[in-house]
Symmetry: C2
Subunit: 381 residues, 2 copies
């Protein structure tokens, strides 16, 4: 079904919205009360190949920052996440799960440690501003919690590095993966991180100045023309292949980080306190009820999953695909799924039901889809 998104002030514009409008954006979604452009003139498949071969510029200003500053900043963030952040360095990005007192996920931000007393959480789609502020109030912590008007801009794809060096200089070459530096742009300092929501090399610029939005976009666009730059967006085919899960799609506040493949970001045996710790320790001891896995399935090339596709083992509903689309590079339909215990083993055969009765043969894979263990299954379907 196709319907317009009706605009109002409540659906916030980023520093770059006017730029994507000029380029003829054809579809948006809304994340953090903010516009996320999702499509231009090309198909998802065309964008997928272009992302893998060239370079794209993405308005990801919807990745809003929650700024936590003060002597208790690190303590508050540690309380919010199962990942041990004690050794985080200034200039480092960390992927975190945020959990409730029952160990349920409420967001999976990237944390940027700006100083020992100043942290940004670059968030997925939930109001962590309110969560962090209320915890700070309730616990009487010495922090201020703000949402600065920062709009990240992503430059993603094989040519991203060369292009970014042209704009921000040689220091870009020294950036390790998930590291950031404060670099010069038009006499301002802007945070540039080597990160992004794709399987390709890429960067994100955390632009803190709305008035510079068009200048930054235009500078990257001009530099990118020789690299065949195009506007783009987080690409569903690429994201699923890479196993990049999405809060609200592949996991909700019904789920725990252990269910969602985030065990390596849960420091359950460390001497730290965080919300929900006892619940996660108990889940680890007794085993998760469900797990995130990849699923491949047969039949005609399937467009994006907008309503979950149900999974069956015989007549038993054993889970659902929450993000899915045909992958032209792998030559198969792919999905990210939450699957019940007893049915998530590699190679498990299941049926995928698209909508009301289009049944496909499927098999369970590991994420990301490109790991060697999946190869035999890919060929056997």
């Amino acid at each position: 079904m196709i319907a317009d998104l009706q605009m109002s002030r409540r659906i916030r514009r980023t520093h770059f919205t006017s730029c994507v409008e000029e380029l003829g954006v054809s579809g948006f979604t809304v994340v953090n009360h903010t516009l996320l452009p999702k499509s231009f003139s090309n198909s998802v498949e065309e964008d997928f190949y272009h992302l893998r071969n060239d370079v794209q510029i993405w308005d990801v200003g919807c990745q809003r920052q929650v700024e936590i500053e003060g002597p208790d900043a690190m303590s508050l963030v540690q309380m919010m996440t199962p990942r041990n952040i004690a050794n985080a360095q200034v200039g480092q990005c960390l992927y975190l799960a945020l959990t409730t007192d029952k160990g349920k996920i409420i967001n999976d931000p990237v944390m940027l440690k700006l100083s020992d007393e100043k942290i940004w959480l670059s968030i997925a789609d939930s109001d962590i501003f309110l969560w962090a502020k209320a915890l700070a109030i309730g616990l009487g912590l010495k922090v201020t919690v703000k949402e600065p008007d920062v709009s990240p801009l992503a430059v993603q794809g094989p040519a991203a590095k060369d292009l970014m060096v042209e704009i921000f200089g040689k220091q870009v070459e020294e950036l390790g993966f998930f590291r950031f530096k404060s670099l010069d742009f038009e006499s301002t300092k802007q945070i540039v991180a080597r990160s992004g929501y794709s399987s390709q090399n890429g960067y994100e610029i955390y632009l803190d100045n709305r008035d510079l939005g068009k200048n930054l976009w235009d500078a990257i666009w001009a530099g990118g023309e020789k690299y065949n730059i195009r506007p783009g967006a987080p690409n569903l085919i690429d994201r699923i292949e890479a196993g990049l899960i999405s809060f609200g799609n592949d996991m909700t506040s019904e789920n725990t980080p252990l269910e969602c493949g985030m065990e390596k970001y849960c420091s359950l045996t460390d001497n730290i306190d965080f919300l929900g710790k006892e619940y996660l320790i108990e889940e680890k001891r007794t085993g998760s009820r469900r797990q995130i896995r990849g699923v491949i399935f047969s039949g005609k090339s399937q467009g994006p999953c907008t309503v979950p596709w149900q999974l069956y083992d015989g007549s038993t509903n054993v889970g659902q695909i929450t993000s899915g689309i045909f992958n032209p590079s792998l030559g198969v339909n792919t999905g990210i799924a939450l699957i019940e215990k007893g049915h998530w083993n590699l190679g498990q055969r299941i049926n995928v039901v698209i909508g009301k009765g289009d049944i496909r043969r499927g098999q369970v894979c590991f994420l990301p889809f490109t790991v060697p263990e999946n190869r035999e299954i890919m060929m056997s379907l």
Copy 2:
């Protein structure tokens, strides 16, 4: 600019989304990570007149409930709002501002007192689930905070009462304004309130059962045919005329309830504790920096305001219109505006700048636009 809304599981469907799709919904917005249908085949003007003459059915399932239950439920909610809720009765709805520790608005829900220990906050567009839960955790309160899967359905317009009596029986007639009862539908009990986001008489059914969504919709539709029922949505012309402000549009977490015309919902002299009390008392003492007002302005009939229209007194920017559209009944362009101190008096002449230089003559009014004090101004523009 027109662009599609791209669907995914993250943009949640209500109990009624399939019903509005069948009726050819043409535009959505997103509130609380949930679809809000905004338009069907008619124009906003046609819908406005229909709402005032007949009856409409609205899928307002995006008005999510935050359920606060336990012995400390009333204490927690009192801490969250400047309105004294001590005398609230079971069966009563109360319109509230929710404020931060600095007295800034973060939502304006309708509170439903289900029992002395169970409250629903039927929220505008921010994750009050996280706010309430984190406050409860931080303060160690004896409550559980949940988001039940309840989708309100609104029936609005002059024929709403007769139609609702046909579906829910004579008890509907006894419902006072902003009161609710638990009434029968298909062997279930559902909360029915006399309320709604319009200037017309109306009701909201808080349906707690997704499987009954289509049955409830179809029952109202069938009963409504003789009343010329149509699908609709909160109507911008009606909402502005009635002075019904919208969180995210007309006020944000930059504003206070005193700035936003909510002084009568702020019990500043009562012996209650709530977040931000000292800031609101100080604002009341020294006066607000800005206030919400109505603005009328001249010139051609103006379509909806999607990006704020700036207000000038001479060369001074004195505020902005945050919701605006031509009102065919009043015969004038109308807007809800935040206006700086010294410029908000009734009849103040200002210029309204639409976009990049379409300048209109305007005047400041009271809200709602229909109060007698505005009459002379309406005629003089």
